[in-house]
């Protein structure tokens, strides 16, 4: 399995050593610094809305890749440095990613509410995120969108559901979710801004600046082949996939994802964890492939589709949890609670659908790289 993906027939595969890892880490570190510079030049201001988004994304993107490479190729790197670096990078990408996650979650839930109401949803500019009228938190979040980069994507790619054509229960549920998730997003925004200005972040940036020129490889690393460590990462992935309930997932409408839909212990669903874990292992495998191919790994459609299914699984799982959480708000009306119940079940079925999609993608034979 692992052999297939890493293509042992490629005569150059065996020749990829720690030198390539150093090159990859330097490139990612440079990318991190470039994104940071871009962010500092444009960040905190409402003008030039596109760039801070890209900058924040690029920051997270390179932080994730450096961190993943430190993990997969750990034996080739100075262990003290490596162990000190990884949690800091995880903190950076986690902190910067939260605002966007809340925004995407709200958008997903509002879109679902509209779909469930049989309402027409019109495409609209991404910046026009729906906010509760007069809500200070929402206003702050909107103003802050341009600072850390919370918008969902390029203009026109996202849709803006309007609450006007929702039924009473769905409209109230939408307003409640908007209030709660906008507040969470605003807090995440503040936290991200604070983090970017903290001495902790400056220390990370300094370390990354050093990494851009000097990678702390072990003495043997430059001539050590990367292939076995990359293969081990893939094996961890395939092992974890094997442990998933793929037979069940491959039977449509197995009703498995909603089994604990009304259980007293609400969130997170324990049955989701192995899938979340596979999502992370898939990412590690994907980045290891990048290292082996010097950042230019051939596109693997199967990995791509499987990864997208797992992202959708994660998003739907968290959206379902948010709906269940909102239903616990004191003094909501029964109509609101009913709509949130329908919404929760809908998202849990999205979870099930994502598992089916993953199973379908995974069972396909690997397409040979061009």
């Amino acid at each position: 399995m692992a052999q297939q993906h890493l293509d042992p027939t490629d005569p150059t595969a065996g020749a990829v050593t720690g030198d390539a890892l150093a090159g990859y880490l330097r490139a990612q570190a440079t990318e991190f610094l470039r994104a940071l510079r871009l962010h500092r030049e444009t960040g905190g201001q409402a003008a030039g809305a596109e760039e801070p988004v890209d900058a924040a994304r690029a920051l997270r993107r390179s932080a994730r890749r450096i961190s993943a490479s430190l993990h997969t190729f750990r034996p080739l790197l100075d262990p003290d440095w490596s162990e000190a670096m990884r949690p800091e990078l995880a903190w950076v990408s986690g902190t910067l990613g939260l605002e966007h996650a809340y925004e995407a979650r709200l958008e997903r839930l509002l879109l679902a509410l509209h779909r469930l109401s049989g309402a027409v949803v019109l495409p609209a500019p991404a910046v026009d995120v729906p906010v509760a009228a007069g809500s200070r938190a929402a206003g702050a979040a909107r103003a802050g969108t341009a600072a850390v980069g919370g918008t969902g994507g390029p203009a026109g790619a996202t849709v803006t559901p309007e609450r006007g054509n929702l039924t009473v229960g769905a409209a109230k549920a939408g307003a409640l979710l908007e209030r709660q998730l906008t507040l969470a997003r605003t807090r995440a925004h503040s936290t991200a801004l604070q983090a970017l200005g903290s001495s902790r972040f400056h220390a990370v940036a300094d370390r990354v600046a050093v990494l851009a020129s000097e990678v702390p490889l072990t003495p043997a690393a430059p001539t050590t082949a990367l292939h076995p460590l990359a293969a081990a990462a893939e094996e961890r992935l395939t092992d974890a996939v094997t442990a998933l309930p793929l037979v069940t997932a491959g039977h449509p409408y197995n009703a498995e994802a909603l089994v604990h839909g009304l259980s007293p212990d609400p969130v997170p669903h324990p049955q989701d964890s192995p899938w979340h874990q596979v999502r992370l292992l898939l990412r590690l495998h994907r980045y290891a492939r990048e290292v082996l191919h010097a950042g230019d790994a051939p596109l693997d459609a199967r990995l791509l589709t499987a990864g997208k299914a797992l992202n959708r699984h994660r998003d739907a799982s968290e959206a379902a949890a948010a709906a269940a959480q909102a239903a616990r708000t004191p003094r909501i009306t029964p109509a609101t609670a009913y709509a949130l119940g329908v919404l929760h079940a809908d998202q849990r079925h999205e979870v099930e659908a994502a598992r089916f999609a993953f199973q379908q993608a995974w069972q396909k034979q690997t397409v040979p790289a061009p």
Copy 2:
């Protein structure tokens, strides 16, 4: 398509004429009278719980078949008699079927609530239907079970969910549904008892008694082939199936069934109607096959599976509507409403799953009859 099922290569197929229809109708009328006699001997009393169930079912079973044959082979029968008879038979099977329908709906919803709560459901005798403690309506329904025949099936075949291990919202939702559906069932039971004692029913029984010995065929009917009329019934079925959104239904997790889950216009879902219609046409086709084969039609696994999927579709559709209806009860708690919302969505996904099952069954090639 129609040709395949009716098997024109069968040399006896062309020879089946109105005489066979008369034989089938006489046999069904005799069956109706036998069931009625059995019901009168045992009905209204709590003792011998099994027989009234069977008797009520057999009554409905033969009433449906007589009515269907009158419809499909209308040109071969005295039109005045036929047109007077059909609505009366529909009234009999409809009135007698309602009590069982409410009971089955409640059982389906309680089972779903347990599944959604992650609770274990133990099999138990069918007679032990859960009733709200101290509820007079429930008590009346329970006492009446043996009279018209409202139990779900043979002892041990059904399961008895207990509300003890449900969460607060799910338990309250279960109690609410139990109250409402038990009341509806009690009313249906009373209506059925009244119907069976009415002069209207006696008139139907008298007509069926005449039918058992004397079928009012047209003069030409005894030598007229049944095949073209049976083929027309099958064509109506295949036409209706062709009009169904089967491409969508064949894509698992298309999320179509819940599209109006929160729409202001609640029940019934208009999108379900064509499927309900196909269910009825499939039944007409099945009974027409019985007439052609003198009640001994070879088993068609495809028809059987497709029919079961459509029954499941109807049951889930009605259960979803009952959950939505219950959520409109004044003064329920938000937790109850939330559980009903999850339940509604769950049953709408059952609707979607049933459509998928039908699509899968239907697309299979017809298995030649042995």
